[in-house]
Symmetry: C2
Subunit: 406 residues, 2 copies
């Protein structure tokens, strides 16, 4: 009898965003005329930039001719893409990262979920709390999280690093033993980015203890403040303790196009084993690369036209973030994030639970957001809104929130 992965039964509920989608769909069916504004899932709404569309069309044409057709991509991604990434995202910012330390993927979600597979079964994980649910879920599936305590909303073998209003949503290195430390900065969902000195403390901690930091920088393009690093490799010594995960979803609107990459420096070695080599073997055995046409689209992100068009696109989303921040503040909400990030994080009024606020906001204002508790126990009592809607909808959402009492 084929045994099912026993950890599946330990997982609480559904994947957060699937649950949100189901609830919204049920509401929509019951209220077909409701004018729902979706500021829930962190999905972009602006069309792909012209430079990217043009690169896609050219690559599609290449695939239609025998002389230029491309089959399986080289392991790790096409050199043309790995090279522009290394140059623009790293060397230009003083980080010594070479193309063969970059592994192109179909997105940071896949990398976030699979990177744990190169580590031992007994590795103990630490996560920012709240944070993007995939880090914990993937480790729970792999059996590293122990048991889930429904009341405490915690796994008993996970080290939670609280990010609350009290510590400015910037975590400190864990006091408990941890082998894998997941950090997302700018953080999803709080919208708060770590300053360089705070991140340096993690790097020093990891180099001292032998832990590996899994640094998710998917929202890097939203960073505006000078003392916030764009890459963990801006911190001294990160090359011997950190893996960085990046995405094209939020800086270039690739949520529906799927492209990301992992950076694993060759200097990152544990127990005599190169993590770059292990990931290379793992990825070579389980993945056949992102589509050629999408890798060409990724290349266009770094072209002069692409850069200019995407700067404008991101400024548009930033303007939405400001609309949300200002609107919520003037409606009396306690609100965070939204400066170095497309996410705005609000405290639910009157000690309401996150899901209760979700239901009320959907029913009374027809606005979809994401309950903070879905991101971890310290997210309870908070709520996430995203700046990825249209400017019109961002304004309309704030008008509604100003009017209703939730």
């Amino acid at each position: 009898m084929a045994p099912i992965n026993e950890n599946y039964a330990k997982l609480p509920g559904n994947y957060l965003f699937s649950t949100v989608a189901q609830k919204v769909e049920a509401y929509r069916k019951a209220n077909p005329d409701a004018d729902i504004i979706r500021l829930g899932i962190g999905d972009v709404t602006k069309p792909l930039a012209p430079a990217i569309i043009s690169a896609l069309h050219s690559a599609v044409d290449e695939m239609g001719k025998a002389e230029t057709f491309r089959g399986y991509a080289p392991d790790g991604g096409y050199p043309f893409l790995r090279e522009v990434i290394a140059e623009n995202d790293y060397r230009a910012k003083g980080c010594d990262i070479s193309p063969d330390e970059i592994f192109v993927s179909d997105g940071a979600k896949s990398d976030s979920a699979h990177i744990q597979e190169i580590f031992g079964k007994d590795a103990r994980i630490a996560v920012s709390d709240p944070v993007y649910p995939v880090y914990v879920d993937s480790n729970a599936f792999a059996g590293r999280c122990g048991s889930y305590n429904n009341e405490a909303q915690r796994w008993d073998r996970v080290v939670y690093m609280p990010c609350t209003a009290e510590n400015g949503f910037s975590p400190e290195p864990p006091k408990e033993e941890a082998d894998l430390i997941y950090i997302c900065s700018p953080n999803n969902p709080t919208g708060v980015a770590m300053k360089k000195d705070a991140l340096q403390r993690f790097v020093d901690h990891a180099n001292r203890t032998g832990a590996v930091i899994l640094y998710d920088a998917a929202y890097e393009a939203y960073i505006q403040e000078d003392d916030v690093p764009h890459s963990i490799y801006e911190c001294e010594g990160a090359g011997t303790c950190a893996i960085e995960l990046r995405s094209f979803s939020k800086n270039a609107g690739f949520t529906g196009l799927r492209l990301g990459f992992a950076v694993i420096p060759k200097a990152l070695v544990r127990g005599g084993v190169s993590l770059n080599a292990v990931w290379s073997r793992f990825q070579g055995s389980s993945f056949n690369g992102a589509p050629y046409i999408v890798q060409r689209a990724g290349e266009a992100v770094y072209s002069p036209e692409g850069k200019a068009q995407l700067k404008e696109q991101i400024e548009g989303y930033r303007a939405n973030a400001k609309i949300l921040l200002d609107g919520l503040k003037s409606a009396g909400y306690e609100v965070y994030g939204g400066v170095n990030s497309p996410y705005v994080w609000l405290r639910t009024p009157g000690g309401m639970s996150s899901w209760e606020f979700f239901d009320r906001l959907l029913e009374k204002a027809n606005i979809v957001g994401t309950p903070g508790s879905g991101f971890g126990p310290c997210g309870e009592g908070y709520f996430r809104l995203t700046a990825f809607g249209t400017p019109e909808n961002s304004v309309r959402a704030m008008e509604r929130i100003a009017k209703v009492r939730l």
Copy 2:
């Protein structure tokens, strides 16, 4: 100290095709003028069909306009694609498979590698021998294969189901206990497809023992003989014991575009748990879907124009297979496969080892093939050539083989 997955150290050598690529690259560097013909990796060479190119361009245009832009795809794939798959690949062939039993992915390699994650750590696997290496490699990474014995070229906890000339390359259900039974038919690398009655014996075996069959039908489009099933669901009772993996790589030339799907019937339940539900949760937490434009390209595969164009494309590859079969036979080789498959499987002459033949064929004829031993212990003494080259190269390769003594 972050522990590395201990199973990594147990893996023998590199991923087969990476090793082949490295050897060819080394030879090419040492012999820059060599006119190398690549019949090694199973990669297609014909450009994408016009109907697919046209669908890609249209979808790219949609992504460039706000009204038609698409972000994250729905979990499991777009309904437009899941529906044409269910209709054309299943219902039209009398198999009762519904769209919500189909999970669209970025290719059968990813599915082949990740499907094991929904099963328990102690599940014992059985594999056709020889077979596509990903099934064993992914389970070895997950720690299910025991230790690798270099001399025997076997994992001590894997049940091997021999496919040799003696049994017509058609395996029998394992006599030893096995929870997960991997079958690839038409088989990669032998090029031999299982007849319906032989496959029915596996289905009956699995329903009797509670095992789950993981059926890789990536080469289904090459089936020509009437008594060979296109889907395992043509066998009675397969809905309660089998997962089918499909690919667009070989039927539509998507190796560089990346699209596939897994079929998990809702009736497939083990220990009271629906495998459809577990995979849905797993995929929802670790994957954000194949690109919208690629899913539209997949839809075009089922259009009348797409079908006609792809029929012609596959006939071209089949003609290559015949060139290889005939050429090898007249050169005195013992050769198999190539009828229901793009792969031709030859016995190395004079008891030569597979890798020795690889080296000689590369050096003396400048032809790249794949050593049979890379696919499992029973592949030793065999060698794979693929029909995915151009007709010209297939002819030239056979001319060279006729002339050289290997």
